[in-house]
């Protein structure tokens, strides 16, 4: 058994999210260098604002402008900033209660070192040069020892208020498929297809995942299956997928390879699409450099008898 395979796996997702009236006002406000909070039923001003009162769950819409200056309520020194964080030089994470607000906003504080930060220190917003209506329109906070800034009493009404944000994210993984699937992938490199036999029910699973889903036991015995197989069921694809270099219509089928206890799926070619049928005998076609069969084609054998594959549908 060779080493377990590993490969980098990056998951990136630009979630497009709509915002409600309160979040729209807050985020649009940041674009215009205005910080808005929302007043709760009992008169507290929440910054950042939410649409429902955290205590009573009543809908709240009463927007209130607060100052871009405030007080640190707690902090933590981040000497080693990570990707995506507001500053790429050492900074303090801070919760800041802006003047006029009753709750605190999380953000970064640009300060020379941990000895210059303390709970209770005064700070002000440093605006990002380019602003789009996002929490990152606040570049960070910075120490401030001046007068508190009196807000102008903005109504929360804006021209061209934003209606959504794109929450971009990227996570990097090192994917390892484990022992069973490593064996499967390595066999594909030799143009062989292997499964694993359950020690209890004797069924051969392909691709193997190391466990029999029926018996809930580990599978270890490796078994080569195919190359011939039988079409158990199929569909005709009439819509061309983006970036797919296959003419439509084409046939996508479940194929029970000889010796396998369940069917794999693959494309059927080498036969007109309207002549593909259940029971058709097929074999894999490997193309140069491919890591799995490109498609399956008819072998010319007589069709398999239904009773031979009905358990594999």
């Amino acid at each position: 058994m060779s080493a377990i395979l590993k490969a980098p796996l990056t998951v990136e997702f630009p979630f497009t999210r709509s915002v409600g009236p309160v979040q729209s006002a807050f985020l649009t406000g940041l674009r215009e260098r205005v910080v808005l909070g929302v007043r709760t039923v009992d008169g507290k001003v929440l910054v950042p604002p939410v649409e429902y009162d955290p205590v009573t769950a009543e809908e709240i819409r009463d927007l209130v402008e607060v100052a871009p200056t405030g007080t640190v309520t707690t902090w933590a020194w981040n000497h080693d900033p990570r990707r995506g964080q507001p500053l790429d030089t050492p900074f303090a994470w801070v919760l800041v209660k802006l003047d006029g607000a009753d709750t605190a906003l999380l953000h970064a504080l640009d300060a020379p070192g941990p000895d210059t930060v303390r709970t209770g220190m005064r700070v002000r917003v440093r605006w990002a040069e380019e602003r789009s209506g996002a929490i990152t329109d606040i570049a960070c906070f910075e120490p401030y020892d001046g007068e508190s800034v009196e807000p102008a009493g903005h109504s929360g009404e804006f021209e061209e208020a934003i209606t959504g944000i794109v929450a971009a994210a990227r996570l990097d993984y090192t994917y390892s498929p484990g022992r069973a699937q490593t064996g499967y992938i390595e066999a594909l490199g030799d143009r062989r297809i292997v499964g694993e036999r359950c020690p209890t029910c004797r069924k051969v699973y392909v691709p193997p995942r190391g466990a029999c889903p029926t018996c809930g036991v580990a599978t270890r015995e490796r078994v080569e299956v195919g190359p011939g197989g039988t079409v158990t069921t199929f569909c005709i694809v009439n819509i061309k997928a983006k970036n797919l270099d296959i003419e439509v219509p084409y046939v996508y089928a479940h194929i029970a390879l000889d010796g396998a206890g369940l069917a794999l799926h693959g494309r059927i070619a080498g036969i007109p699409y309207d002549q593909v049928r259940m029971g058709l005998r097929v074999e894999p076609v490997w193309t140069q450099g491919a890591r799995y069969p490109d498609h399956y084609r008819p072998t010319g054998e007589p069709d398999a008898d239904y009773d031979m594959y009905k358990e594999l549908l």
């Binding site: 796996l9 950042p48 902090w75 020194w77 919760l95 069973a180 190391g210 036991v217």
Partner: protein, 356 residues
């Protein structure tokens, strides 16, 4: 509904518990391969077969695996054919146990298998966990769980509730206790290390690792048949706080306290508490919020500072508390699980053994 006992309410117990050895990496096994041995162990301990189980519930997270519906692959380890009654929570397994407990209370099943697992090793768990934050105001800033816990720790220090040496002592005690726990990832003397995010040092933070756990629940007489000394769930409840961190008092955990009250934790003293406190500072918060004094043995297993397989660490707290009752080392134990940043969500179960 935990305290108002309905007529004919069913007594439910944890009758078996198993966990993996928790390790930094487990490349050689897939999730189902990591999970299967603990599933087999709990079934062996009860003599049950997969087909005998009335309800199965699991907890895990796709974000750890980086793949959608990853839990469906883990189901292969259960033996889900012929079809079983099954459910999943994208949460720590403690919440899967809560769902199973509800299912048993309804009378739909007499036994339940609960399992959970997490492989943190393929990704960067500090980055992954930022994706559970509110997507409008927090997630775009990528504040990682250590940073958020450090804000909570500083708030505690400012409030005079702890200091850095006291926090270090929590970590040291946890890892010393873990020497008796062969499954733990960090055991014995562990360096307090440098600041990860000040005021938290590496010694204040949990190890990152892979692991799985499983428990079997059973009702009434069935529990007595399956286990010599069942760990009866006298109450269980979970509560959540406002998602805005700046709305909360980070030095307190009113949700943990309310869950404990609703689970009946304050009706009589407990002798043991398994607290899911991944950061040393969170143990301080929980001890204060739950009113645990020096008479209570806290985290004899070593707790999450010794092993914190994400999505399983909370279920393990319930399992460890139950196992102490099984062994006769505890008569009444509190088990706690948390989820989310800075103890946002909290679950408390009170477990008891039969009087001796």
């Amino acid at each position: 509904m935990t305290r108002e006992e309905a007529p004919g309410a069913r007594d439910i117990a944890v009758v078996a518990f198993a966990q993996t050895d928790h390790r930094r990496t487990t490349d050689e096994v897939s999730e189902v391969e990591m999970l299967m041995p603990v599933l087999h162990q709990v079934l062996e301990r009860t003599g049950l077969k997969a087909a005998d189980i009335g309800f199965t519930c699991s907890g895990s997270s796709d974000y750890l695996a980086g793949r959608a519906f990853s839990f469906t692959l883990a189901l292969d380890g259960v033996g889900a054919w012929p079809p079983i009654s099954e459910s999943h929570v994208e949460m720590d397994g403690a919440w899967a146990l809560y769902e199973a407990w509800v299912k048993l209370r309804t009378g739909d099943a007499d036994t339940a298998l609960v399992y959970s697992y997490g492989k943190s090793s393929p990704g960067s768990v500090r980055d992954v966990l930022t994706r559970q934050l509110d997507p409008y105001y927090l997630a775009p800033l990528w504040p990682d769980p250590v940073a958020l816990a450090a804000l909570q720790a500083q708030a505690l220090i400012d409030a005079g509730a702890t200091d850095e040496p006291a926090l270090a002592a929590v970590g040291a005690r946890s890892r010393a206790d873990a020497t008796a726990n062969s499954h733990a990832q960090l055991r014995g003397s562990v360096s307090q290390g440098d600041y990860l995010v000040r005021p938290l040092r590496t010694g204040d933070c949990p190890p990152i690792g892979d692991g799985a756990a499983a428990v079997v629940l059973a009702v009434g007489e069935r529990a007595r048949e399956l286990c010599e000394r069942p760990a009866w769930i006298r109450g269980i409840d979970h509560r959540i706080e406002a998602h805005g961190l700046g709305v909360r008092d980070l030095t307190d955990s009113p949700s943990a306290r309310l869950a404990a009250e609703r689970a009946g934790a304050y009706e009589r003293p407990v002798d043991t508490a398994e607290l899911h406190a991944p950061f040393s500072s969170q143990e301080v918060v929980l001890r204060r919020a739950l009113g645990l004094d020096e008479t209570v043995r806290v985290n004899p297993s070593g707790g999450a500072l010794a092993a914190n397989p994400i999505m399983a660490a909370g279920l393990i707290r319930i399992g460890e508390a139950a196992a102490r009752i099984h062994r006769g080392e505890s008569d009444r134990a509190l088990a706690h699980a948390t989820s989310g940043p800075c103890l946002q969500q909290n679950l408390v179960a009170v477990l008891e053994g039969d009087p001796r």
